[in-house]
């Protein structure tokens, strides 16, 4: 489950912000802000992607770096947000 989500998040970041450049060794824990991967509008694109792909709503107070500033943080956040019963459908 976690692996699937990590793959999706990484794929989205590489396609959408790095335009296919996977060669720069982006680590799961790298800060997307520190690395300059997302700019001021990037976070909104990321939020839209999460809401469209995972079907939950990102609340205002959840828009914090602890939830969204690395592949690992985003993944952890998604896992916390998803209702337990949806895990099976994601696997399929």
């Amino acid at each position: 489950m976690r692996e699937t989500i990590i793959r999706d998040v990484r794929h989205f970041i590489i396609e959408n912000f790095l335009f296919g450049d996977s060669g720069n060794g982006l680590k799961e824990t790298d800060s997307l802000l520190e690395k300059g991967i997302i700019d001021s509008t990037g976070v909104l694109e990321l939020v839209s992607h999460l809401e469209e792909t995972y079907g939950f709503r990102v609340e205002d107070e959840e828009l914090i770096p602890e939830n969204l500033d690395s592949i690992a943080n985003v993944t952890g956040y998604i896992l916390r947000k998803l209702p337990r019963e949806s895990f099976g459908s994601l696997h399929a």
């Binding site: 396609e15 959408n16 790095l18 335009f19 296919g20 450049d21 720069n24 802000l33 520190e34 300059g36 991967i37 997302i38 700019d39 001021s40 509008t41 990037g42 976070v43 909104l44 694109e45 939020v47 990102v58 205002d60 828009l63 914090i64 770096p65 969204l68 500033d69």
Partner: protein
């Protein structure tokens, strides 16, 4: 105002007239009124004239009494009547009423040191036949351009790079390091240009080229070393500024043709317009550009200014389609990759000026640099304030006040993230480039679009920040942080972007001369000695200027917060007819052929843009789009499809020398 070009050759004498005619043909837009060429065995000087002073007698090249000193000159020396009077008292005889001739006689008396006496905006080439040496010089702030190509004992120079390309021996190749720099700090650094082997004389420098080779040196340098103290009352400083600025404006009205003004609705152009209107010319004609896209439009403020100042006003309204259509033309004139479209509306504005039979306009350019008007100066201050208490919840909230637009983007939810953006390198307050580092790093992300070959070639040099810092004045770190930030803004951005791509080149595209009272060196030196608190007070930008302005312009204009001059980007390239051009320029094949970018990344990027309906929100991605389109255009215009045969040589040329 004019265009200059020339050849100096100390190897083997070569026929020069044919090449000089071609060079003139490529820059004839700068000076369509008359053409002249001087040649002797070593030198060839060419001139395209825009007649502004001494309309009937000012054709160039111009010489001294015994024809041993010849000059071609682009620009204006505003203090020429005073200089001339002094020369006449010393026995010099004048053949014309021009400012140009003053330079020739000054050179006779003072040698190259005469350049210090000039107050103006100029680039010139002066050939001393007796000493067989050429002197090239450029004004203090780099208002007028001067490019050159040096190859052993042969020198080619010109007001624009395209003039040099008239000679097939000049290589037409991109300079990888400069491409990398532009995709970092928006402009070429120092002497470099987008093209390998083509350099520019730096602002405030002069050079001598003789049989002994090339030597350039500064005659003026911006310095904040002598900041005044605050014991002197603010009112005193304000009084002094009022006097200098009024005089700077007064001498910039010297011309034998009518002088108009740009009126953007902002503080700076309103101040200048108001000075002209109240003291010197009650019938002033003003010009402005407005946008159909409300995010960029300042029309309501322009209308207020026009009503308050009662000028005879003309304006044009710019659509995204206009910008897309004119972009290739502007790249042809700018000769550099552009990360912005803002030069395009200014090019249309100069066209409007020309259509109204004006050749000269005063503008407010330079005020934001010298009196600290840009947001980046406030950003630096807020970050330093925050860095002292990095855990403060309240201090970073100031960014919201600084950038309400960004924080209001779509929704206000991303505040914590945006604050994270400004937190980058927060503790690094001892860096000489603390003020600009975030911006450069954010822009440098665009370098990832560059091709491996370009990145590899650029990577062989020192990193950008190290190269920039190596040239800083020795006492730089003793200056106030605001002064440091202003110095960096001025030395990187003013001449190589603002005064060129948004200044000289887009005005001269229609043979219009801009004049900038704020860039009179007396005003610049005044500002650099002003206590920094009077430049920016708390977070009030241009504090002293607002104080002076409140004496004579309405409060809603003198206290209006700065609106950065910007133009829309993505939709200009992705909608309407421009869209096909963009697709063509950024096609896999075209990108591969030019070799500047990674074709697969460009393809993915373009798909993303179209997926967003052409409405790109990210600032960085807008810059990426403009940067890639302009670089591809530049390649097409100057490398793959350039032919000096296409230029229209001047029909009638006056020949001198021999």
């Amino acid at each position: 105002m004019c265009g200059v070009a020339g050849i100096i050759e100390f190897n083997t004498p070569e026929p020069k007239e044919g090449l000089l005619r071609k060079m003139l043909g490529l820059i004839r837009h700068r000076g369509p009124d008359a053409f002249g060429i001087f040649t002797d065995s070593h030198a060839g000087l060419a001139h395209a004239r825009l007649s502004i002073i001494d309309l009937s007698g000012g054709d160039q090249p111009i010489h001294n009494e015994d024809e041993t000193v010849w000059i071609v000159y682009n620009g204006e020396v505003f203090n020429y009547p005073e200089l001339r009077q002094d020369l006449e008292e010393r026995g010099h005889r004048f053949a014309t009423r021009t400012d140009t001739e003053v330079l020739v006689h000054l050179y006779e008396d003072h040698g190259t040191a005469f350049v210090n006496k000039l107050n103006g905006q100029f680039a010139f080439a002066l050939w001393d036949r007796r000493r067989k040496r050429l002197m090239l010089a450029r004004d203090r702030l780099g208002i007028r351009p001067l490019f050159y190509h040096l190859s052993g004992r042969r020198l080619l120079f010109g007001s624009e790079i395209k003039a040099l390309f008239a000679d097939a021996r000049v290589p037409r190749r991109f300079d990888p390091l400069t491409l990398s720099d532009i995709f970092t700090c928006w402009a070429p650094l120092g002497v470099s240009t987008a093209f390998e082997g083509v350099r520019q004389l730096e602002p405030g420098h002069f050079a001598v080229f003789s049989q002994d080779g090339w030597k350039s040196q500064p005659y003026w340098q911006l310095s904040f070393s002598n900041e005044g103290n605050e014991d002197r009352p603010l009112d005193d400083y304000a009084e002094e500024l009022d006097v200098i600025l009024t005089d700077a404006t007064r001498i910039r009205l010297r011309a034998d043709v009518p002088v108009g003004a740009y009126l953007s609705g902002g503080l700076d152009s309103t101040v200048i317009t108001s000075l002209v209107k109240s003291s010197f010319n009650n019938q002033l004609r003003t010009f402005s550009v407005s946008f159909t896209d409300g995010r960029f439009d300042e029309a309501p403020f322009q209308e207020k200014a026009v009503r308050a100042l009662e000028t005879d006003h003309r304006s044009i309204r710019c659509t995204e389609r206009d910008i897309g259509e004119d972009f290739p033309k502007v790249v042809w004139h700018s000769e550099v990759p552009l990360l912005r479209t803002a030069p395009v509306p200014l090019c249309r504005l100069s066209h409007l000026v020309r259509c109204n039979d004006f050749k000269v306009v005063l503008t407010g350019e330079g005020s934001d640099e010298i009196f600290a008007g840009y947001d980046i100066f406030k950003e630096d201050k807020v970050r330093r304030f925050w860095a002292r208490q990095p855990d403060s919840q309240w201090r970073p909230r100031l960014f919201q006040r600084l950038y309400p637009d960004i924080f209001a983007h779509g929704d206000r939810r991303s505040r914590a993230f945006l604050e994270g953006f400004f937190r980058k390198g927060l503790a690094d307050v001892a860096s000489p480039v603390y003020s600009h580092f975030i911006r450069w790093e954010n822009t440098a992300h665009l370098r990832s679009f560059l091709s491996p070959q370009i990145l590899e070639a650029a990577g062989a040099h020192e990193p950008f920040v190290d190269r920039y810092c190596a040239g800083l004045p020795a006492d730089f770190m003793t200056w106030d942080p605001l002064s440091r930030a202003q110095f960096t803004e001025i030395s990187i951005f003013l001449s190589n972007y603002l005064l060129s791509s948004q200044g000289d080149r887009v005005a001269m595209a229609h043979a219009v001369e801009g004049r900038f009272p704020f860039l009179d060196h007396r005003v610049v030196e005044f500002a650099s000695k002003l206590p920094h608190r009077y430049r920016m007070h708390g977070l009030k930008d241009k504090f002293i200027l607002r104080k002076v302005a409140s004496r004579f312009i309405p409060g809603e204009l003198s206290q209006r917060p700065k609106q950065p001059y910007r133009a829309p980007i993505s939709r200009c390239f992705l909608e309407g007819e421009a869209c096909a051009v963009t697709r063509d320029l950024l096609s896999e094949e075209a990108v591969r052929r030019a070799g500047c970018f990674d074709p697969s990344k460009v393809g993915r990027f373009l798909s993303k843009c179209f997926k967003q309906g052409g409405n790109v929100l990210s600032e960085r991605e807008n810059m990426a789009l403009a940067g890639m389109v302009s670089t591809q255009l530049l390649h097409r215009l100057f490398i793959s499809h350039f032919s000096s045969q296409d230029c229209q040589e001047p029909e009638k040329v006056l020949l001198y020398g021999r």
